[in-house]
Amino acid sequence: MVHFELLVQGLVQGTIYALVAVGLTLVYGLLRILHIAHAGLFSLGGYIALLLANQTGSFAFGLACSVLLVGLAGMAIYRLAYQPILDKPPYVALIVSIGLYIIMEEVFRLVFGPSTISFINPPLQGIVEFYGIRLREVEIATMAVAILFIGGVGILSTKTRIGVAWRATVDDPEMARSFGVRLYSVRYFNFFMASVMAATAGAMVAVSNNMVEPTMGGVPAYKALAIIVMGGLGDVRGTLFAALALGIIESFGTIYLGSILDRDAIAFAFLIIVLMFRPQGLLVRN
């Protein structure tokens, strides 16, 4: 029973990782950029949702605004930070992204203050019994939202015109362009979707922990980076698999390895082991 509970807790954590990591891997697949500033958008999503919920009393309203605004912020980041340096070697975009993330974290600290902020009326706190396991409503909501978004991305990319254009651009940008795909609209769309998912994850984590703080994006984002590398950069299915696997491994690891490694180190130990044996990613065939 304990094991089943650990498994479910791991899956909940894994879906949060998945929400952050799928967005990152979409960006990497399209532009070969390790978008570390994604972590800043995650925090921004949490802040907007929480502050608006406290102002208006409606978490749903806060979440909707947060998703929309952060989506636009993601597009702005692409336009202002990444587009001018797309033709430069890969480390340039990486360092730009790190710089941007540090700037965002510091701006949160200056604007919203260094201490944590909590919900006045924390939403989704009820407890649901489920086959003998007690889950909080927020955990169920997180999983539902994650399935909705990730399933949505899956349907979008196979069934719609923009999805087909998007996959064509990932495969071969030049060829896609010669077939009349407008690259810039695909890229904006990609950043919008990725940022929307990050904002949702941020808002859900804010509810789950009942707080936001300037550095809240750090740990999930670093882990999301590890996840997309394990998933085989740009591979959405591999990323999903790695995210859920990491959630479960951490959940069991904190019980069985807790005295040697802390929770965050387990993720990176797993990453390094995977990379040494399968540098191309968990599910990618050679």
Partner: protein, 283 residues
């Protein structure tokens, strides 16, 4: 006077540290986002050696270099398996792994760190001279490497790994050499840090420290020795001279990283070169 001595000591340590990353990232082109782990390894080794194992300042420093280099050797193996973005994430992971392991070890003081690290025994002034002399040595060593065969091989790997392999450069050996040299020097810087601050704790060796070291190298000009030295020196004294720099230190680091990569990837070195070229053209 005491204040200036401490200032110059910190400056010297940062120059040594920045140049150590410059060998790996600058000369050999291997991006590392976890360099603070090696700095920390050196600091913890020196602290343990002098507080627990009764070793002297000198043998503790040597041990710090050796242990950091062994650690670097193993991480260097990662650079043989993965490259570019993958390597950046792997080294970042190494940084977090280092923190995670140290935090859980009671022998290393856990969250509390190790206090009561003895001084160097040379006095404040003597220690400053030692640190600055080491910085000069590391500068000379960097200049020497850059002109040696080792430096040419590093440069070839940084420019184009596949072509260098084709012309018969043993990439694995040179990458490992870069990691071992760079991490050994970082370990030495760490031992200086431990004896200067007299305390080591994990907070000093996290991701932010890794990024700060990277910022010195990037802003100075990746691979440029004088650029890295100047920027390391300036970035270590500015927060002490200007209060607003101290208050917004990370914001400034972030903005520097961002704007250097956006507008002039050559950093300080690149900007000066451009100015000199313009000035000559006007003549």
């Amino acid at each position: 006077m005491e204040y200036e001595i401490s200032l110059l000591t910190v400056m010297g340590i940062n120059i040594v540290l920045a140049l150590s990353l410059n060998i790996i990232t600058g000369f050999c082109g291997q991006i590392s986002l976890g360099h603070a782990a090696f700095y920390g390894t050196g600091a913890y080794c020196a602290a343990l050696a002098t507080t627990q194992w009764g070793m002297s300042f000198w043998s503790g420093g040597l041990l710090a270099m050796v242990v950091a280099a062994i650690f670097g050797f193993f991480v260097g193996f990662a650079s043989l398996r993965v490259r570019d973005d993958f390597l950046a994430i792997t080294t970042m992971g190494v940084g977090f792994l280092f923190l995670g392991v140290v935090r859980q070890q009671d022998a290393l003081g856990g969250e509390m760190g190790i206090a009561g690290v003895p001084g160097s025994g040379l006095g404040e002034f003597g220690f400053m001279i030692l640190v600055l002399a080491t910085a000069v040595l590391v500068i000379a060593f960097s200049l020497y490497i850059k002109r040696s065969w080792l430096g040419f091989a590093f440069d070839a790997i940084a420019q184009d790994q596949d072509t260098s392999r084709t012309v018969g450069i043993d990439i694995a050996r040179f990458k490992l050499a870069a990691f071992v040299l760079g991490t050994a020097i970082a370990g030495l810087a760490g031992s200086f840090y431990a004896h200067h601050v007299r305390f080591v704790g994990i907070d000093s060796f996290g991701f932010i420290e890794s990024i700060s070291i990277l910022a010195m190298v990037v802003v100075g000009g990746i691979g440029s020795i004088w650029g890295v030295v100047v920027v390391a020196a300036v970035l270590s004294v500015l927060p002490l001279w200007l209060q607003f720099v101290a208050d917004y230190q990370l914001l400034i680091y972030g903005a520097l990283l961002f704007s250097v990569m956006q507008f002039n990837q050559g950093g300080l070195d690149g900007i000066v070169r451009q100015l000199v070229r313009k000035w000559r053209a006007n003549d």
